[in-house]
Amino acid sequence: MSYSFSVNGQEVDIESPGLRPLLSVLRDDLGLLGAKLGCGEGRCGACTVLVDDAPVAACLYPVANADGSDVRTVEGLARHDSELTAVQDALLTHGGVQCGACIPGVVMTLTALLDQDARPEDSEVRSALAGNICRCTGYQKIVDAAMAATETNGDPR
């Protein structure tokens, strides 16, 4: 069956079994390798992408449910010839990126959070990140980066 949706602003038409995970379509059909397969059961957040602006676990998201939706992945944030987003830049500046496996998911979670609320509190950042497991940083540097990104995301704190 064929499913139509947009990925990073471009319309795609995918011929696929409907229960195939969106993550598999993004990686294997479209070559978007940012979102990773981690746990495969919606616990680790490495596969986080945005569907209609909400973070979802792409490993558990049937492609049939993406039909008609707007999907955003980390590849859609900063093109080769453009600057990093505030979230990406802050993660680099604050040492929030170590092995990097979780970072595409973390970036998408924080992007959605800052899209909804330009000035989240520390506790809101931590709650938003509850579904993104990082085994390198201990999270503090990621939270620091998120709070710093709020400085350049709308009105300064």
Binding site: M1, P17, G18, L19, P21, G40, E41, G42, R43, G45, T48, A54, P55, V56, A57, C59, L60, Y61, P62, A64, N65, D67, G68, T109, S127, A128, A130, G131
Partner: protein, 287 residues
């Protein structure tokens, strides 16, 4: 109508009528798919995903929430949306269950209808919250629409007629009613609960006139603990002896399942503390 059957086939419905007809046509091979977070993990549970699925995401009748004397919730309402419903304290337990369940990425997708319908999901957080809140389900099939108490539905969930869909969930919200939810997990966030508890009480003149305590994750299906609920009635909310009695009664009413997360005896051992915490969490200020 005739729905083409193919292995692992997925069919997209665009109305309740069409979805019910597709499911009736598919018979035992058919199953509705809402957010998909339970069905997509069927292989992890050694359940073969060989069924025919009817996608509900494009059925407009399944969306939306309205708040009046009762709160009317579309079955496709996600946990995130449910957690944000602005309603009185009768809904507090449901809101808390929705906000504390799983992870944000799952809460943004997993639906109330899917949570109630998921067979084999002992740990579902919304189910005890809905049981305690006296939720009723609007069920649609090709022959019409009916309404059923959620407890009755759960008791027959494994043998519902083909073509039946949960359309709406209705939660009464009378003045004087308040509720709360608690769960125990190995880690602070996410994870399935070892035990989850929802308590709903009707208060008049500072005394509990009616009460419902529902417990999930202990038995295979969440259960309303009648004797435990009775133990609260006639006492002030939070009365220490009544709360202790409710905990003892609840543990006595349940047959605990064994699991990798916790042995059966442990679920019953922590249950009284969870009930005590849930009752302490009830906010009567706006009841």
């Amino acid at each position: 109508m005739s729905t083409t059957v193919a292995k692992n086939g997925v069919h997209i419905a665009t109305s309740m009528r069409e979805a019910a007809a597709m499911l009736a046509d598919l018979g035992e091979a058919g199953e509705a798919i809402a957010g998909g977070t339970w069905i997509m993990r069927a292989p992890d549970r050694d359940v073969p995903a060989h069924r025919q699925y009817v996608v509900l995401k494009h059925v407009p009748e399944l969306f939306g929430v309205s708040v009046a004397d009762s709160v009317d919730i579309g079955a496709m309402t996600t946990h995130t949306e449910l957690g944000g419903i602005e309603a009185g304290p009768a809904l507090s337990g449901i809101r808390q269950a929705a906000r504390e369940s799983a992870f944000p990425q799952v809460r943004n997708v997993a639906t109330v209808g899917g949570n109630i319908r998921a067979i084999g999901f002992a740990e579902a957080d919304l189910v005890p919250a809905m049981l305690a809140a006296r939720a009723r389900l609007e069920l649609t099939s090709p022959t019409g629409t009916s309404e059923e108490d959620i407890g009755d539905y759960l008791a027959t969930r494994h043998s519902r007629p083909a073509g039946e869909l949960i359309g709406r969930v209705r939660v009464p919200a009378p003045k004087g009613r308040a509720s709360a939810f608690e769960r125990l997990t190995v880690r602070a966030t996410g994870e399935y609960p070892i035990v989850n508890v929802a308590v709903s009480v009707d208060i008049d003149d500072s005394v509990v006139r009616d009460a419902r305590i529902a417990v999930g994750s202990v038995e295979p299906v969440a259960k309303l603990c009648v004797s435990a609920s009775q133990a609260l009635i006639g006492h002030r909310l939070g009365d220490s002896a009544a709360v202790d009695a409710a905990g003892v009664e609840a543990a006595g009413e349940l047959t605990s399942r064994e699991g990798l997360d916790a042995p059966g005896w442990y679920r019953l051992a922590v249950l009284p503390a969870l009930i005590r915490r849930a009752i302490a969490r009830i906010d009567l200020s706006s009841a």
